[in-house]
Symmetry: D2
Subunit: 360 residues, 4 copies
């Protein structure tokens, strides 16, 4: 019952990995944005499998088709339905796993919840569900950039134990991030990460990682008091992405170790308006954006599907050794970059509309 | 516009710290729960200021009054309105700060957002807003315990650099947690935390901390796919609490460093149903509860209001030295325990209704 | 689960007729409106019982108290909680009816729905629930008038078979409406209506009626396509008022008999912008306001509680003669005027915020 | 921003009349319903143009395709996306009208609202939007029938001045309704209606009408108190259908003329449970279903698009004579039957889930 996200700018996604199509309906975007399928395809291509040796070789073209909401190259203000056909369905790959719930996957919980099981590799827990998010997010992303100058850039900060230093978040671009397939902007670290992912893949294992995302030029005053604080909505958005385990805004867990005298972001005057000398707040104070860059982190677990044998039990509780043969990513963070950006765009776009509603 | 939380079980809070009253309206709770004001007061007393030397000495009685939704000691299934009068208002304490936005507080962002400023110490960013959450959460908490046997227990794991070992989460009780005012169940660590908070207070500074929360006996199958995954709703709920900076479910950020072969929770048979040998998932797989204890962490920053002088600027950008004189907590985590429990109860209660809606 | 109304401007009502208090929380109103309790009291006084011989003599003072959201006489942009204590509770009056479901009342359906019965005269089906609506609506009404010049005026068009001619809707005021207690602006008809209500009351019976409501100066462009068309939201709002049976926008049911050539509102140029020569549309075209006065009708049934004996059955199906002794109105339409206005205000206020959200 | 309907069972429609496709996403339907495209097609065929000489000859095949949410012929409990391609687009037909807002159509209000105009004949005010409603409603309709025995049957009661007597609502079936293309179950009246529609068409005019809908076997206890009363949701649902002007539940506007002693539905004992001797309530009391048939009426205006010349003005206020040449229906009520049924199904389905949420 929860395939919709947003209060005024609402994205509804649909589709299982082995059905006919996946996609999204984006409702509430103001009219007049120049939009073509190519605008959306760019981000879908950054998400799709098979784009580098670091990812699963399931090769989906993932070509988006806009069904509605756009006329003569401009959005109408009406729902924008976007659809991607599922072409490369190999349900057979998963056949033998039907009797065994994959550890740390959604097989078991879905079966209990719904009382029936979708074909494995399926259901809405599939990574293919995120295609709809990326498509909807790409539209909003373009609207945010063109109308407000908002730039959203996510990148890989850590893969397993390998972590990169913080880049200059004021200038980092998607192009820089994409310079290396692992999507870490620090070249040396990127190589090390690649080596690690390759090694993990050869070991038929998987590994986790951390993404950072910065949102620049976000207007002051976004975010709603109490339950829809900016960081609360970001946290929900990010933890709704498959395989996420943690979220930090600004200083995050490190704040727990700090003193207020060190953590407080003192105000300074800059270019005629108030800014802060530091940004432990991550651009949000009291749940509302303060004009500094929004900075947050998202932790991803190692993918649950691994080629190594696992001693587990089947649905009847009988011991079984499970060894996955389906295609899978050894590490999801490189492909998660456009997903995180999409969810951030959906959050920001909705908050802009909600603030505009006040007539301010 | 966001003072309501929940889809079917909906809590709406109201009230500023210096208005007449604060409170909540809880709508959607099924009829028939035995409920008195005393049931709610227990959790409010754990939240209220002045309960120990560790907290602010603002002394509010915080006596709750049920206005509706209960008849002859039973809930009617109609909105339960609860109200706490504000008695100890000393707006004068904040008077001089009106011209200066307090660093890392909501003064500046609220002013921009709304175009006018509430009296300082006020607005909805005040900690007093959480009274409504605790009241509503206490009602739901009782309903969860009596109808489903669900037990929610939060405690302080870390204050600054001082961290406690993980207790036995299968037996930990609120009584054990409350044995020491700092609400850390490890006695030795509790003493060290108390010393640290006392020292920080004397230094006119503040310090952050970490809470852990466990939810036991949560039915399998709760949580909605895609955007309302169980952990996504928890993350939003927790990051909506003032002063929070991070959220982790199960393994959290540590998952980023792990291999799938180590992180996967292998299934085992236990008492005739499936369980998992480990619980890195934190009781949630694919966004849906799997019957293991739900375990999550919340990071709190050091309170922004400190007695130390701070070199900042006023609303006009002119340098000023700010030194807070209002009453304030040097560390919020002991009092945050019932707030985290309340938000967890609201999340779980809503998810139960949503699952029951399926007729399962 | 449905005590909240509105998407951005949200009113949540609470309270049973025999509990401690009734009221509402209004969330989402932009900051800066001058507001006092007297502003709200005016409409509450038009709704309260005992205001004339035409209504029940249950005498409730219905004094409103603002608990939050207002500081120094201005709204803060935060939830405005309003409360009215229940003073004149005489639960004994209804005591004997506990075993018998009153015909055409909510006793039976509530009992099945909730599995328990509130005291009679109670539950949320009580007319006292509308106090919260009127209070919230009065606040929005003032905001609409002061910021947009929007004027909302409802009046009684028919009581039983007695119907008044349509007044000049471009100038009709609440003052004119209130000139006669029955709230029909046509003096002669008002007298006849009063006679009818008096006769019905003496006959221990009740009678229905029709209200008309006009909303002037509503900006062009309000209303959302598809499911939240302006008239759809009005229809829901009005049919949510107790005792309503029908809703018409503009031409209403009479449209069914008309030809398109007669019904179409031809455009004309007026004062430099487009207007329409007729207003069969009732000010709404394609679900969106067109700048003409919004005009709609609401049908009310005769109150179900009557003093005449009724041959019905008790909860066990045993025949019984029921004769109500509680206080009750012989006709609700005079007191329904401020309720209809309040609901119209809530609808329009919400639609204004939603349109402003587009940045237009 | 309002293309979604429902709280738990949510239908989101998309598509303009001249875009690539129209359709709907239905989220929240419990898993396990047997469903094929043929089940949906039946109702779409009753809605589509060109099905008889009474309707527009725009010939759309309107073949539905299920994209997601169904596997092996059973619903998965996940979003069911349904799509119908637009094949017969003749945007040229409307070309010349681009400078002139059609009277009583949405052209003018949409232009002001969005600041840009979709191609005429288009936008979301087009009748083709209702395809998504009918598709989503058909799925829910099947679920209601198979799981609860709920039967929803709408029919044409009046066209212009020609009205049919009330049929036996306890046995009326869709098959009987469809016996005559005008969808009036009274044979003689159906002929007269057909003659009238034919005459109106030849006169290049249009005519309004009234639909009645009965919902049988609706469980007792559906409907939410206060703002989501059963009739309030039905009223919103019906007034959201293009061209509707009025709604009545049960006795409707006639109730205004009645006495309570005549209008009250006295309880009787029937087959071991309570029933009512009459059904002026239309099956709903206090906003909640009482087990009697739900009966409501919907008034439709004459279609705004007519072939007769109309003296109106263009967007610049200059007088112009408008004469529509596009294809259009002289009377919409025969084709509106499945739309009304679909909206009723969506309302009832959602209310069932909401009641089940209580665990009752």
């Amino acid at each position: 019952m929860s395939s919709s996200f947003g209060t005024l700018l609402k994205a509804t996604t649909f589709g299982e990995s082995h059905g006919k199509a996946v996609g999204a309906v984006l409702d509430g975007l103001p009219a007049g944005l120049a939009l073509s399928e190519a605008d959306i395809q760019t981000q879908l291509d950054r998400r799709r499998p098979g784009q580098s040796t670091l990812t699963t070789d399931r090769s989906e073209v993932d070509q988006v088709r806009i069904l509605s909401g756009v006329e003569n190259g401009r959005t109408l203000g009406t729902p924008i339905a976007m659809q991607v056909e599922n072409r490369d369905q190999r349900p057979g790959d998963y056949g033998e796993m039907d009797a065994v719930p994959r550890p740390s996957h959604a097989d078991y919980t879905y079966r209990i919840k719904y009382g029936l099981a979708a074909r494995s590799g399926g259901g809405r827990a599939s990574a293919r569900e995120t295609i709809g998010r990326v498509a909807a997010g790409a539209v909003v992303d373009k609207w945010l950039l063109e109308n407000f100058g908002i730039e959203i850039v996510a990148w890989v900060e850590a893969v397993g134990d390998i972590a990169a230093p913080l880049p200059d978040i004021n200038i980092l671009s998607r192009k820089t991030v994409d310079a290396h397939p692992v999507r870490c902007p620090d070249a040396a670290t990127a190589v090390a990460m690649t080596d690690l992912i390759t090694a993990v893949r050869e070991a038929k294992d998987s590994v986790g990682g951390i993404l950072v995302c910065v949102c620049r030029n976000v207007p002051i005053g976004l975010g709603e008091p109490v339950f829809d604080k900016f960081e609360a909505l970001l946290a929900r958005a990010m933890l709704s992405i498959p395989a996420t385990k943690g979220f930090e805004i600004g200083s995050g867990f490190a704040a727990a170790r700090m003193r207020g005298s060190a953590h407080n972001d003192l105000f300074i005057e800059k270019n005629g308006r108030l800014a802060t000398a530091t940004n432990y707040s991550g651009g949000i104070q009291g749940g509302i954006s303060n004009g500094q860059p929004i900075v947050f982190r998202v932790a991803f677990k190692p993918p649950a599907t691994i080629g190594l044998p696992q001693e587990t039990v089947d649905y009847d509780g009988r011991p079984v050794t499970l060894q996955a043969r389906g295609r899978h990513d050894p590490c999801v963070v490189p492909r998660a970059v456009p997903i995180v950006e999409a969810m951030a765009a959906l959050v920001i776009g909705d908050l802009i509309l909600r603030q505009q509603a006040r007539g301010r």
